[in-house]
């Protein structure tokens, strides 16, 4: 677990040091779940999709990764 945390911290630090991350790069770097059903970093799009489908919205606030 500690190794995972350290790896996660290193990854976050690398992002902080870098410039704006493209959505495409982000999706590649996120290893936990790149399933098509997840919308990344776009709350308005999620709410619009919820209105369209009638589904409730689950918004997870979580740094990378």
């Amino acid at each position: 677990m500690r190794v995972h945390l350290l790896a996660g911290a290193a990854l976050v630090a690398s992002f902080v040091a870098s410039q704006e991350i493209s959505k495409q790069d982000l999706r590649k770097k996120l290893k936990d779940d790149v399933h098509a059903s997840w919308i990344y970093d776009d709350l308005p799009a999620a709410l619009a999709e919820g209105a369209k489908t009638g589904k409730p919205v689950l918004a997870v606030f979580r740094c990378v990764p």
Partner: protein, 353 residues
């Protein structure tokens, strides 16, 4: 937590529109409010913005993964789906879950965050993410700079259920494992499933925290519990200063309080002196901390033990000491610390920002 590898979780996630938000840039703070210091937080919402519930809780340094479990997440998701199925017939009881008015609408409007490398409006090009915890930090320091009130709620934010006397099962929505203090006095018992609290349906410990966070000392909160197949009504009175029993120093905000006010790193209570003020300065802030209190750095040494501040010797915990500096001393004022150093008692006068 919300991973699709687990079939049960995947089945639940399929019933939601799932969005992962990785940072706070552009987020409407008047609509999306939760415990900013968490490393994992979730909101269950209707597309119209109605909040079904929040998820994510933590009570101290060591409990990030003990208080938040996959089983508990699944239960909360099930609870959210049930509330969604009953919506809008239940809209009135969900009113209290709505976000409150926000002093600053977005992170770039928070005065204390202006000028940070990752807060650059207009172009959207930023040197890194805007972290959730920066909202709490920015609001707190902006309030101090603007001489705005800094009530206990600002520091002891989203109080742990334990601070109110609840031990909850992290694998359930809101099931009582044991009760003491205010919860015990109200009659909550082991095994109770808390259905409603403060007029709101609960689907998580975070929902309970939301209600406690916004409640005032002296309030009496009504609860409905399921016990042995029956539904019971309980009332819990919040005693004066109850939230101060908690310890907020696991939160990111504690680092800026240490650095900017006390001019120190972590302050460790001394086990040999449990009931008196004896806070050992573990370290001074490193040079790369730009916002450190340089007045304090010139006066204090690593290894010093703070045994009094002004005429106060009762601030035994780091949380109480830092709260004193923040809430009782205005910007520009001076505090006198009495410090043990090498067997001698010395005094250090520190000007506060």
């Amino acid at each position: 937590m919300a991973r699709r590898e687990d079939p049960e979780t995947a089945k639940l996630l399929d019933q939601f529109v799932c969005v992962r938000v990785i940072q706070m840039w552009g987020i409407d703070l008047a609509r999306f409010q939760f415990d900013w210091d968490l490393t994992f937080a979730a909101l269950f919402l209707n597309a119209d913005g109605t909040v079904y519930g929040r998820f994510g809780t933590r009570k101290n340094h060591d409990h990030a993964e003990k208080d938040t479990t996959p089983a508990g997440f699944r239960k909360s998701a099930e609870g959210a789906l049930a509330l969604h199925a009953a919506y809008p017939g239940n809209a009135k009881e969900l009113e209290g879950k709505k976000a409150r008015a926000a002093r600053w609408a977005t992170v770039d409007a928070i005065p204390a965050l202006k000028g940070r490398p990752n807060i650059k409006p207009a172009t959207g090009e930023r040197a890194g993410c805007v972290h959730c915890h920066q909202v709490h930090e920015g609001e707190l320091w902006s309030a101090r700079a603007g001489n705005l009130p800094l009530p206990d709620r600002v520091l002891w934010t989203f109080p742990s259920p334990e601070d109110a006397g609840f031990e909850l099962d992290p694998s359930e929505m809101a099931r009582v494992v044991s009760s003491t203090g205010m919860a015990g006095a109200a009659g909550f018992k082991a095994g109770d499933r808390i259905l409603q609290f403060g007029g709101q349906p609960l689907i998580s410990a975070a929902d309970l925290q939301w209600i406690l966070h916004h409640a005032e000392d002296g309030d009496t909160l009504r609860a409905e519990v399921e016990r042995g197949g029956e539904r019971l009504q309980l009332r819990m009175k919040l005693t004066d200063g109850w939230r101060r029993k908690g310890d907020y120093t696991w939160r990111s905000i504690a680092w800026s309080l240490r650095h900017r006010l006390a001019g120190t790193g972590m302050l460790e209570p001394q086990p040999a002196r449990p009931n008196e003020m004896a806070l050992r300065v573990k370290a001074l802030p490193p040079d790369w901390v730009k916002d450190r209190n340089r007045s304090a750095a010139a006066e204090l040494r690593a290894g010093d033990t703070i045994i009094a501040v002004d005429d106060r010797k009762d601030l035994a915990r780091e949380a109480d000491f830092l709260a004193y500096l923040l809430q009782k001393k205005n910007a520009g004022s001076v505090v006198v610390l009495t410090v043990l150093r090498g067997g001698k008692t010395v005094q250090a006068s520190i000007k506060l920002p």
